[in-house]
Point group: C2
Chain length 430, copies 2
Amino acid sequence: MTSALLTDRYELTMIDAALRDGRALRPSVFELFARRLPTGRRYGVVAGTGRLLDLLERFRFGPDELAWLKRERVVDDATLDWLEGFRFTGTIRGYREGELYFPGSPILVVEGSFAEAVVLETLALSVFNYDSAVASAAARMVSAAEGRPLAEMGSRRTGERSAIAAARAAYIAGFSASSNLEAGRSWGIPTMGTAAHAFTLLYGSEEDAFRAQVGALGPGTTLLVDTFDIEQGVATAVKVAGPALGAVRIDSGDLAVVVREVRAQLDALGATSTRITVTNDLDEHAIAALSSAPVDSYGVGTALVTGSGAPAAGMIYKLVAHLDESGGWLPVGKTSEGKATVGGRKQPVRALQDGVAVAEDIHVEDPPLGSDAGRPLLVDLVREGAPVEAHRGSSGVAAARDHHRAAMAELPLQALSLSRGEPAIPTRYL
Amino acid sequence: MTSALLTDRYELTMIDAALRDGRALRPSVFELFARRLPTGRRYGVVAGTGRLLDLLERFRFGPDELAWLKRERVVDDATLDWLEGFRFTGTIRGYREGELYFPGSPILVVEGSFAEAVVLETLALSVFNYDSAVASAAARMVSAAEGRPLAEMGSRRTGERSAIAAARAAYIAGFSASSNLEAGRSWGIPTMGTAAHAFTLLYGSEEDAFRAQVGALGPGTTLLVDTFDIEQGVATAVKVAGPALGAVRIDSGDLAVVVREVRAQLDALGATSTRITVTNDLDEHAIAALSSAPVDSYGVGTALVTGSGAPAAGMIYKLVAHLDESGGWLPVGKTSEGKATVGGRKQPVRALQDGVAVAEDIHVEDPPLGSDAGRPLLVDLVREGAPVEAHRGSSGVAAARDHHRAAMAELPLQALSLSRGEPAIPTRYL
């Protein structure tokens, strides 16, 4: 299925207008960045890169798309010809997937003709605004969980295809697994699951339901113990599965209290290695509030897949330079009230002191001098139209997850605070 | 592409466990509903129905899916055989798309074997939780705009496929058009667009950029006038396009002030019929705040596609009844703390007095008596596995839009208040 019509109409009409005098073909540089972080956030997490590379390969205007555009009179015949032949032939550099970003960080730098770069605007923003919103929320939850594993269970709380992206973004940011099967198949993410209350209700009694589940999945499974009464549910779970029961799941009630009671009950029943997993509308704050409770793992849904209060990362895509008539690069930017942009091609580095990040240094026009300027942040993502394979597929996801962990380790400690504050490091234009 | 793996792993493992003793095949009824509305909302808007019917037809476990499930040992061979033959053969009734809903409204009633009904849980919730969140936000924006047209422009602020669903949901709730081309092609939604700041920056001067745009799209187009200085932008726009200029777009600044200045300037230049459209991070409150300003139309992005503070509608999918051993229907519900559900098959009607809605009456087990009980809310959506065509495609969307308008007209006037309050009508279980 083509991704080419996942595009705002004005991208094509701008091309249509600018093809008439040839200006659409002028070499140009666009940057994708966030003007600011969501209110109070200390850092953002880049996610979506590997997905964009796949979507880019399927960005084709086929006969059906061209016929529809013609019928709707979106563009003229000359533009239809141009779209028919469209292949992105430019270069995209950008932050590694999993990398952290700050206000102004040039997450993608897209270089090509004006037409071939502008036509990617809507799609690139859709991908990065959603995926990075989820990854940014996920990273805070991972910090709050202090090493305890988290599972992504939010598929039912976001669009059915966004659900795959959410599972992928959460995994990159340090979640252990997802409930979403397609995320497992498409991106190699470990999948997991327990059972729903409907299963217990179908059997009518917890004893029968647990027996059926243990029969199918073995005593190492996770039994849902709160359909009726939690204390009775726990007693029945251990009775049926024995002390080798893998885990119990609790999805209701005042978790801080309930979890302690359940731990004591499990221990008293000899099920000392049975774990407790909780799933009741958690966000990073609820996770942190359970840090002293005997919780072994968390399942997170709604708050994760909706960005925990910031469901879109606020990224924008702006023309920052184009070749002028004399063949030189002309930096450009708008001066609109409250929305001005910094023109010019940018080369960002993360400035470090003793291995700790101290600034996001964005060198405008001139590259940074010397290797001690900081860790360079741009890598090649697409070279002359060809996506770099290392960033794609399951191995790309695994690499992004590793890179995220390394980038987080550079942050100053106060960056991990969940309370509202300023970005963890300042952005400096040099 | 199959939709079958857009599913939580536990749906399949529950089926696996319950197939072993045949209980998975027991006739069952599931209901999809919201326990409550998002905080302070007066009503919700159902959207997603037509999309679910399409996804249901593509819910097939093909050789690739089965091979992956086998390799991952998600379920056993008997379950794989069952999945291979899976076709939904049950019946789905539900609220018409575009209908309003309230706490407890049974938006979908899915009847089939436990297995064939439970396996749709994740997908159905993904669709309704996202689409209804957008439609519910959109309806408030339409009220706030008091008859002035609204365009959906949020594709870049949500996942690239959710963007299509958002455009569709907004149109059902009364938006006039969308910027998203695929929404136009797939669902017959009118598409529109103006131009981006990048277009002006490419040309370097507003005069050249406007000349190119008017050359391509005619003077009836909408010119973006705030790349540098709005007053100058407006003067240039009228100079280039003449007084027949269709519209100017303003995307920055204090809109209530700026819009009045621009209107006066346009009028002074003789462009008295040139419209003003605004697009600067609007939500229903910002739209309402502009009600006395000379705005002609609105473009809405982020707030719309992220549900304006409620990005997931909070719908759940619960087993409410199944056939018991004696062949009678057994109502079932969980009693978990704070999350109890009402068992039994439900038949909802909207109680009306003099044409005004006064209650959401949900008849449990026994049907409502007499035609004066209220307007019946359930219609057939899928009959013995076959989706009802009237709810599908572009004509389904058009019908949903019409139905939404009629359902809104029944609401008491205070339901249109944007301030926080209780649901506009009470839900009564009878």
